[in-house]
């Protein structure tokens, strides 16, 4: 997109007005600036609306029983923040496996979700935590709209975010007793886009799994949950047989493709292995 101007509003109201006028949000720029460099003349011209001066987008707090993380919180902060480590350690785990130090210092939570790559590493953890995204702007003006992360990804690189809307925060309902785990497979431990990623969460009561969630990255058009595996886990005993059955069920919900990073067959193989690991980790944790 030919960039016509760069704005750095210091209030949310100003930012929403600039977005309503057709501006495009830029947070860490780690997806967007790469995209602009690759296709400087692609698409219609427009203005960039930087989010870096909006302090309200950078807070992490517990509010009304939810962990509330601003859209502008960086991956580096997710990795280290005491509230994230306490209430959503699976998100800190994914942040730890994300890119390298320089990218983590720039990349944001909102940018990861709005870019909506099927391989977005923060998506599977947020899916298994029943997270909800908060949107403002567009038709609704400054009024907020909430969308479960589950319904936010609608296609490859497409989300439920409407024109002019800004993702302002992500809310994770706190639930005592929930355990969760994340695994990512790539070709090296850092600086690698996921070939496959998996997250799982569940509560374990009297040796039985409840509220089981399992979510997959890079094996479909969007990050997605696996209803087949969740059905196997729900109410099942925490045994090796359950782990094996759920890891098999996950494969029914995956629709991987061949691309430069891996073949579909390798992705399915890796998915089975990583799914076993996360479910076992949830049980043993």
């Amino acid at each position: 997109m030919p960039v016509t101007a760069f704005h750095a509003p210091s209030s949310l109201a100003d930012a929403l007005a600039l977005l309503a006028a057709g501006g495009r949000p830029v947070a860490g720029g780690t997806d967007l600036v790469v995209e602009l460099a690759a296709a400087p003349d692609g698409g219609p011209p427009g203005a960039l609306v930087s989010l870096h001066r909006l302090a309200e987008l950078r807070s992490v707090a517990v509010e009304d029983g939810d962990l509330v993380m601003g859209a502008g919180v960086t991956v580096a902060t997710l990795r280290e923040h005491p509230l994230v480590r306490e209430h959503a350690p699976v998100l800190a785990q994914a942040a730890d496996r994300f890119a390298g130090p320089q990218v983590r210092n720039a990349a944001t939570l909102g940018g990861n979700l709005c870019h909506a790559s099927p391989a977005a590493d923060l998506a599977p953890p947020l899916l298994v935590l029943d997270a909800v995204v908060v949107l403002a702007g567009g038709e609704g003006g400054e009024a907020e709209r909430r969308v479960p992360v589950d319904a936010f990804f609608v296609g490859p690189r497409r989300t439920a975010r409407l024109p002019g809307e800004l993702l302002t925060a992500v809310r994770v309902p706190l639930r005592g007793g929930r355990r969760a785990s994340f695994q990512k497979g790539g070709t090296r431990p850092s600086m690698d886009i996921s070939v496959v990623s998996v997250a799982a969460s569940a509560e374990l009561r009297d040796g039985v799994l409840r509220h089981a969630r399992i979510a997959l990255g890079a094996v479909g058009p969007t990050p997605l949950r696996s209803p087949a595996a969740e059905a196997v886990l729900e109410g099942a005993p925490a045994t090796a047989a359950t782990v094996a059955a759920a890891a098999r069920a996950v494969l029914r919900d995956a629709r991987p493709i061949d691309d430069v990073r891996a073949s579909a067959a390798y992705r399915l193989h890796l998915l089975g292995v990583l799914a076993q690991r996360v479910i076992r980790d949830v049980i043993d944790r």
């Binding site: 960039v3 016509t4 101007a5 760069f6 750095a8 830029v26 720029g29 780690t30 600036v33 790469v34 602009l36 460099a37 400087p40 203005a47 960039l48 930087s50 870096h52 580096a76 902060t77 890119a99 390298g100 130090p101 320089q102 990218v103 210092n105 720039a106 431990p189 850092s190 600086m191």
Partner: protein, 168 residues
């Protein structure tokens, strides 16, 4: 349309007109003539363009210059202290941790930030801390030696203002 950018680079105020899509790397090299910051991939993958923004390592090739309004940027030209090269630079020199040297400015800046935040890193922590910097010549063994030597050297010294303090 060009827009005005005001920031601090290596401790000095700088002001320039930049294009809205101009990268920080371009601004540093073309507008300020600070060519120690390298263009490697220009895609965020290699780390050759690493600089510190408010003390934090960032990739200047995928950082918009205008994002740095009012901030403090440190490039390789700014890490020397009192006319003496930084202990990390000395250690790279002593250990022969560079061959072509193209990755070296970025590695030095990542290393300066790593040792400021974690003065005695483990082997694994050094590897993780430098994982965003690729070197295609050395095989990393001598780079690891240099980081360990620099850590020992720095342990006996006070931090310099050029390294900045990290602002969250």
């Amino acid at each position: 349309m060009r827009q005005i950018l005001r920031l601090t680079v290596n401790g000095e105020a700088a002001e320039s007109l930049v294009a809205p899509h101009q990268s920080l790397a371009d601004f540093l090299r073309e507008d300020l003539g600070l060519t120690g910051t390298k263009h490697g991939c220009d895609l965020g993958d290699c780390g050759a363009c690493t600089v510190l923004v408010d003390g934090e390592p960032r990739l200047s090739c995928i950082t918009l210059a205008l994002e740095c309004e009012g901030r403090e940027v440190t490039t390789i030209e700014g890490v020397a202290r009192d006319g003496r090269v930084h202990p990390v630079q000395e250690a790279f020199d002593r250990c022969v941790a560079a061959q072509c040297g193209y990755c070296t400015p970025g590695l030095v800046l990542s290393c300066v930030a790593l040792l400021r935040d974690n003065p005695s890193p483990s082997e694994a922590q050094i590897r993780a801390g430098l994982s965003g910097n690729i070197c295609r010549c050395t095989g990393y063994t001598k780079i690891m030696d240099a980081v360990r030597e620099a850590a020992v050297e720095l342990a006996g010294q006070a931090p310099s203002p050029a390294e900045g303090s990290r602002r969250d």
